[in-house]
């Protein structure tokens, strides 16, 4: 099994260097994943952002809203972080800030985060948040169709824990 040739042969990294623009166009504009190999051992696949978004479209976030006197908190269980503000809109903004920080921290320290028993399962959500942030849709991906303001939230109270 292992010695059978793959249907799509990876490009050699040195070939990719010589025609990076064409390879990039293939992956991003023509939506064709491009396998790339280095030294017969390291194997990667270049994907367009649109394809990554499609791959993680089944993953969702389920923020929880907690109100207290003078403050609103939004807890994001998938990353174990929360945003806090004087109202729901401010708490949501604070949470988005936390998510961006978390994604960057996760990717900068990926060896330890992917190995950590309490962080390992976050990886798909990290990719989802990264792709959403790059596409300018982080807010709508995290909060889906949840209300933005407390007035809207009041109308949708049944959906907010």
């Amino acid at each position: 099994m292992g010695d059978q040739e793959p249907a799509v042969k990876p490009l050699n990294l040195s070939d990719v260097r010589d025609r990076i623009s064409e390879v990039f166009t293939d992956a991003v504009v023509r939506h064709r994943p491009v396998p790339i190999a280095r030294g017969g051992k390291d194997l990667g696949v270049l994907l367009g952002l649109e394809e990554i978004v499609r791959l993680v479209e089944g993953i969702s976030f389920e923020p929880e809203v907690f109100k207290e006197d003078g403050a609103v908190n939004v807890w994001l269980p998938e990353f174990q972080v929360y945003g806090r503000g004087k109202d729901l809109a401010a708490a949501r903004l604070d949470l988005l800030d936390e998510v961006r920080d978390y994604v960057l921290e996760y990717l900068e320290e990926i060896d330890s985060y992917r190995a950590a028993p309490n962080r390992r399962a976050h990886f798909p959500h990290v990719i989802k948040a990264l792709a959403a942030d790059l596409s300018g849709h982080l807010d709508s991906i995290i909060f889906a169709d949840r209300p933005t303001t407390q007035a809207e939230e009041g109308l949708a109270a049944a959906h907010v824990r």
Binding site: V56, G58, A71, W75, L104, E105, P117, N118, R120, A121
Partner: protein
Amino acid sequence: MPQPTFDDIRRFCEIDGWSKKESARGKTGDHDRYVKRLGDGSIVRTKASHSKDQIGDPRLWHRIWKEQLGLESEEQFWAALRTSVPVEREAKAPKGTPDWLIRRLIHQVGLTEEVALSLSPEEAAARWERFISAPR
């Protein structure tokens, strides 16, 4: 038990040997940020606002002590503050599977509660990764 202030959380992190760090994007902001690596490789992280506020919602506080501070009980938090002694947890068994992952395994993957709860954190993570990467 009382609800903690952010000063309490800050003091807990200092007693429990957490490292203070900047946000990944280098912002100081209006929080202090702390991280700690546990003996089993888990990474716990939290933040403490510079405000004098109390964490008023018990549900949020429950998530903070359990999931951010990695404690087994709220009492461990208050005991550390009372005694100024770090929490004893380095030699303990790995932390359990997070609640959110158990919920996903039950409601999205379709495991029974009994099966989901019987998985180790590593098995639960692997089962979830298989589910979300399977073609639909």
